[in-house]
Symmetry: C2
Subunit: 217 residues, 2 copies
């Protein structure tokens, strides 16, 4: 029942995601309180921006001397539904794909990789993992059967549009795309592109332009 769907700025959403990760870490360390200043330092923004971000989400104002780590985490997590576990799959099991399959942090933070897909049947045999692997033509079936919400796409550039098309048809609405191409999708589907060459170029360009910034998602 989301009724207070006040427009919250996109950069603000990104910062909240990062804040959430940081809060998890603080919680693991047993830290109980945190201030907007500290969070701001981490995010590379002033404290007032952090407070503003939180104010978009927090609709009950009890002005205190600092934030309770646990409460703030629950607030953000509840708002974006990070509290709910989600199933994901990896498509394309080359080096990047298998690295993702083995990436242990996902489980820890509420994402379960429940399937891996690969076109090349020979390669399927060779991969050692606990995750169930399937040939690519089974994407539709397995996505539905396993209630997969998120796909990590790590296929070659020329295969990406086809694969993403199939995923979208299967009902996947959240995609992280490691192939260096931009693929058009319906606008209820969110794609985040992670192109390594692109990233190196951006780092170079920012350096050339002297656009420093404390950090960046």
């Amino acid at each position: 029942m989301v009724m207070t769907m006040i427009k919250i700025p996109k950069p603000s959403i990104e910062r909240c995601c990062r804040m959430y990760s940081y809060l998890e870490r603080l919680q693991e360390k047993g830290v109980e309180k945190v201030q907007s200043r500290e969070l701001g330092q981490l995010l590379g923004v002033p404290d007032c921006t952090v407070r503003k971000d939180i104010s978009f989400i927090n609709k009950e104002k009890n002005i205190a001397r600092s934030y309770n780590v646990q409460n703030l985490k629950v607030l953000i997590g509840g708002y974006f539904h990070f509290d709910k576990a989600r199933n994901a799959c990896v498509v394309g099991l080359g080096r990047i794909g298998t690295a993702l399959l083995a990436y242990t942090n996902f489980e820890k933070y509420g994402f379960s990789i429940v399937a891996g897909f690969e076109d090349n049947i020979n390669r399927l045999e060779l991969i050692k993992t606990d995750v169930n692997l399937y040939p690519a033509y089974q994407i539709q079936d397995i996505v539905k059967r396993e209630a997969i919400e998120i796909a990590l796409v790590a296929v070659p550039a020329d295969a990406a549009p086809g694969v993403i098309g199939v995923l979208v048809k299967a009902g996947v609405k959240e995609i992280v795309n490691f192939a260096p191409v931009v693929v058009a999708v319906p606008n209820d589907v969110i794609v985040k592109n992670v192109d390594f060459t692109q990233m190196m170029r951006e780092v170079v360009a920012f350096k050339e332009m002297c656009v420093s910034e404390d950090n960046e998602g």
Copy 2:
């Protein structure tokens, strides 16, 4: 001799980087002309934004009927110095690190991976690659000897601050950090964080907020 250092917006820089990749691909395909509309479609922005982006860079106005792919690529590449080849290294040769070592696109687009570093000597022996590998304590020496400008950091979270500190001391000013921590650096150093869990959360959050956007770097 950059004298016209007019402030160019950061999002604009990012779009230029993506535009550049796209222009490379068009050039490979032998396409000669491209219009702002088409570039805009790719970037998920209107054509006027593309033209504006280009106008920040382009200081000679010859109004024509479309852009020449080759010229535009040279213009952007020249401005951000993408034309110059750059040396990079990978630090941390776990799964992600070795995937990066093997990532063939870098060479193709002007980045040479000239070194890999790893703490665990046993692992060093096992990795098959053409890239020269070194134990981590040699970072300083090799960075200088090989004139390494860029580092891809793929070590565990708790090792990242230390490693990044060493890299910075060695003179590396451009870092892509795959460890899920934000590390403070001097502000002439650019760090781009690539945190997979973070990305999945952002995709989820955007979806929950119905913040669609045609695509995203």
